[in-house]
């Protein structure tokens, strides 16, 4: 369970041996790069592996919880509970609200719909008054997005998810935040979106969605086709970065030895 000391972080990695899921995990981990001493709150499997990998490698000061009420030090496997002597803090739901309102948190949620300004829907599909499909409800998304950085993980990039207009704005995007102004406009930050195909951010004109990189084996055209609105596509789109040898060891041997990542990502 502990991170070994005998790893050469610069060991060469053969790209042929790296799975799509592992590219996604490296891209998700990068969402928290530079965040320092804040609470990283991943939802779903790939972001959870990514947050633990980020802390075990390049972002050691992150706070991580068990998703229940405890903050733990160290690195542990998906589905495992670390021993009590790894507890470093107590974060019942009420304190999670305190932390998110303080701004010292960066969440990675999984939207059912997202638009070009980063407005995200996790609430319901169709008319809100009588949805064709009820989803989770807005949950904490309205508060998360206007208080601290938010990133999104989309396991299946499609025109069903990347839509011109979301049916219900649960997570606030840039155009909505700018219409409110003040603190909301200042603090909204949709850091990045990682999908099974690509990495996106909001570096396009007026904070619109921009293609940052495509995962190896994916073409720019594939991403454009799977997106239901005009994406900002720079002239030169690089490939998503390769995970380092150290990151791969953490992912494969420490955090996800059972290979749950491959169940969430189909290339």
């Amino acid at each position: 369970m502990s991170v070994q000391e005998d790893v050469r972080p610069d060991a060469p990695v053969d790209p042929e041996t790296v799975t799509r899921a592992e590219f996604c995990i490296a891209a998700c981990a990068d969402a928290w790069r530079g965040d320092g001493e804040i609470l990283a709150s991943p939802m779903m499997t790939v972001p959870t592996i990514a947050a633990r990998t980020a802390r075990a490698s390049f972002e050691p000061d992150l706070l991580l919880s068990d998703g229940e009420s405890r903050l733990y030090t160290g690195t542990w496997a998906i589905g495992e509970t670390p021993p009590l002597d790894r507890v470093e803090g107590y974060v019942p739901f009420r304190r999670i609200f305190d932390i998110l309102w303080s701004g010292k948190r960066h969440v990675m949620m999984s939207p059912s719909q997202v638009d070009r300004f980063g407005n995200a829907n996790i609430s319901a599909l169709g008319e809100f008054a009588r949805p064709t499909r009820q989803l989770l409800g807005v949950r904490g998304a309205p508060g998360n997005t206007v208080n601290h950085p938010t990133s999104y993980w989309v396991p299946k990039h499609s025109t069903r998810v990347f839509v011109e207009r979301v049916d219900m704005v649960a997570g606030v995007g840039y155009d909505r935040a700018s219409a409110v102004g003040g603190d909301v406009e200042r603090d909204v930050e949709i850091r990045r979106i990682v999908t099974n195909l690509a990495v996106l951010d909001f570096g396009g004109p007026d904070h619109t969605m921009r293609l940052v990189s495509v995962h190896p084996g994916v073409t720019v055209d594939q991403v454009v086709e799977a997106t239901g609105f005009a994406l900002d596509v720079p002239a030169d789109v690089p490939e998503s970065r390769l995970p380092t040898a150290e990151e791969l060891r953490i992912i494969r041997e420490v955090v996800d030895p059972r290979g749950l990542r491959d169940k969430e990502v189909r290339a």
Partner: protein
């Protein structure tokens, strides 16, 4: 100190149709299910239910008790969506106020603090104020002039919470990982009712857990119900965890009217004792 011990049915007898009822716990965690089951057996109707919702909300919807909901979510945790809630939303049979999770806390805290609203940033810019047109904003009277959402107080006619231990006067104790918002539900209510795994002498409370685990004061509590396994099938740690097998059975039954009728006949047609007996029998069968 007053002895406030009651039965589930005595609590329900104090409730009226059309009331606003707050229910403690979170999702499928430490829900006052025996009190909810008692409401389902009653002739109460047209309730407004305010909760971080789980199967409490689902059962009340299935039994036709809830007319309106105020919630941030309704989830079974290990099963993301409550099936009866989903059916009620998609069938248009319930009126809802869907709020951000933090707004719910603020509304309860405002009511408990006798304030008409509390300012909050969360909700601004989202569609929450659009689908809840009764929500208003408020502008800071100070130099910053910031606009906030004015989260209205959520006044409750009654609150129902389930704790691990309580004494006969209503001093309630949680021993699990999280208090959730049970103290705020009690504070926001005209009358709060605490069910618990065990009623113990006051002197035993601090033997079970640290003084910080004494969550609810007797001055806020109108009635105490001893309800062993009363949170079933939700979690009530450390006394017991969630009955995942039963929750799966519940969710599968809820997806199909015929299966739900059979589930109701088997588990929910009698009183709490017969529910617990049916659960124990099915658990025993699973072990065999």
């Amino acid at each position: 100190m007053a002895d406030k011990r009651m039965t589930e049915d005595e609590v329900v007898a104090e409730l009226r149709s059309g009331m606003t009822i707050g229910i403690g716990g979170w999702g499928s965690r430490r829900k006052p299910m025996s009190l909810v089951r008692a409401i389902c057996r009653s002739d109460l109707h047209d309730l407004t239910v305010i909760a971080y919702g789980g199967p409490d909300v689902g059962l009340l919807l299935a039994a036709g008790k809830a007319k309106r909901l105020v919630y941030g979510f309704v989830s079974l945790d290990s099963i993301p969506l409550e099936p009866h809630f989903r059916a009620a939303r998609e069938g248009g049979t319930v009126t809802v106020s869907e709020w951000d999770e933090g707004m719910l806390q603020w509304g309860l805290y405002a009511a408990a603090s006798r304030l008409s609203f509390l300012p909050l940033r969360s909700g601004l810019g989202s569609d929450v104020p659009i689908v809840n047109p009764d929500l208003r904003t408020v502008t800071s009277p100070y130099a910053d002039g910031t606009e906030y959402l004015a989260v209205p107080a959520l006044h409750l006619d009654a609150a129902l919470v389930h704790l691990n231990r309580a004494d006969a006067s209503g001093n309630g104790q949680y021993l699990g990982p999280d208090a959730y918002f049970d103290d705020l539900f009690c504070g926001a209510a005209e009358r709060a009712y605490v069910s618990c795994e065990r009623i113990v002498p006051t002197a035993e409370l601090t033997a079970a857990g640290p003084v910080q685990s004494l969550l609810v004061r007797r001055s806020e509590v109108a009635g105490v119900v001893e309800a062993p396994n009363g949170a079933h099938f939700t979690t009530c740690e450390p006394d017991y965890g969630r009955d995942e097998a039963f929750q799966r059975e519940y969710a599968q039954a809820a997806a199909d009217p015929e299966a739900w009728a059979a589930f109701t006949a088997h588990y929910l047609s009698g009183d709490e004792a017969s529910y617990q007996a049916a659960v124990a029998a099915s658990t025993l069968e699973a072990v065999r």
